[in-house]
Symmetry: C2
Subunit: 232 residues, 2 copies
DNA sequence: TTTTGCATCTCGCCC
DNA sequence: GGGCGAGGTGCAAAA
């Protein structure tokens, strides 16, 4: 990895064109050829960049300044994306051998929430029992298929943040599920939209379509789980 | 901006928990307190990070190693996100004054496509004329509201890539627009789904709902525009 | 391999 | 400040 601080000007041409006027920035050249251009603010997104696979060519302009030309591997029949970095003044330049990174270990995303709710469907609605997780349909799997105390089927869609498109998704599932006589024997399939946070518009749309909303407390669910673990 | 290369171990606790085992990485501390942890590969996304606003506190562990604790500004009533970086060996450490960045100038995204189609609605369908761009409705603006040769209103949704959620969006608009007697005078409002590329599933859904699909040639439209410029 | 859907998404616009 | 849509989205699991 090469780390450079330089006064530079950057031009990108590809799916869009973008231009960065001359200013001091941090330039990172990774081992795979990818390049990042960072300023001293903003979030993790660089001002400009080139994703791998790509190649960097170091050249010199007519007036003797260094210019890097980063070229992406061209897609079939298209002009490849290019990033031109014109360097006016080099303030720092160092290279480092980082080796291969062992990678990130994550925990606590939607899958985990689904596991916890599959273990404790009763927290969504009194008496609800699990039929199966990832219940397959022609347009994709329903997160949880359950049955309520009266035997009616209940489809549960789980999101971390409940927004309007999640309600649309559940609506499509319900439309399809309600054509299946095996599921509608005891009455029309109901829907529950479960999320750690449900946006107002999503709630309105869900209620308008007769879909129940359930706000899920992740920490409390994890607590339930740990409590049971201690019993066995 | 401080640039550090170090053998380090990183732990994040917040919306999820994540752990990075001890390895050599690039650490960037920006002027606003934000921190990025990069490996020598992947794209522009860091392995781990903390977004501003946040603060960094440099401390020492019992065994004498340096540890940075990055704490995000806490959301109301929630435990704040934290990032702990334990440094085993410092391989590089330098600070640089970058100043304020003048920022990125962009050109050529969806807005431009919308402008071009607003100029040339006839390329979507013979005889189509523009009523207005960003036609307001209660659930958001319709990209283009047009009228066809028979006087029927036509709502156009424009996407760079046409996927299923775009069809859903247009469907919601049409549902609403068709309740307005001012628009339905000459017949039900029709929909056109316009994109540079339309995914098969989106096409099927659109046709199932009586929505026409239009694949847009961005370069050809730009050509039309330039040709007209030359006439005046 | 391509497609699909989530993300500690980020970012910008408009209310 | 919150909501919503777009992104040169990135990313990984599934098909």
């Amino acid at each position: 990895m090469r780390v450079v601080v330089a006064r530079c000007q950057v031009d990108y041409a590809g799916r869009l064109t973008a231009h960065l006027p001359m200013a001091t920035r941090l330039l990172i050249l990774k081992a795979d050829g990818s390049v990042l251009v960072h300023s001293d603010g903003g979030s993790y997104k660089p001002l400009n960049w080139m994703s791998p696979p790509c190649t960097v060519r170091e050249g010199t302009t007519e007036d003797g300044r260094v210019e890097w030309t980063v070229t992406a591997k061209a897609a079939k029949g298209a002009t490849p994306d290019t990033l031109r970095i014109l360097i006016d003044e080099l303030l720092h330049d160092s290279s480092h051998d980082l080796g291969v990174d062992p990678g990130l270990q994550k925990d606590g995303v939607e899958k985990h929430l689904q596991e916890l709710l599959a273990e404790h469907p009763g927290t969504l609605q009194e008496g609800l029992t699990l039929v199966r997780r990832e219940f397959p349909t022609a347009i994709g799997p329903v997160d949880l298929m359950c049955r309520d105390i009266t035997g009616i089927s209940v489809a549960v869609e789980i999101k971390r943040r409940g927004e309007i498109d999640g309600v649309e998704q559940l609506t499509r599932y319900l439309e399809l599920l309600n054509r299946d006589p095996l599921l509608t024997g005891k009455g029309r399939v109901r829907g529950i939209f479960a999320a750690q946070e449900i946006k107002p518009q999503a709630r309105v749309l869900a209620e308008d379509r007769g879909i129940a909303c359930a706000v899920v407390d992740y920490d409390a669910l994890r607590g339930l789980d740990n409590a049971e673990d201690r019993l066995f």
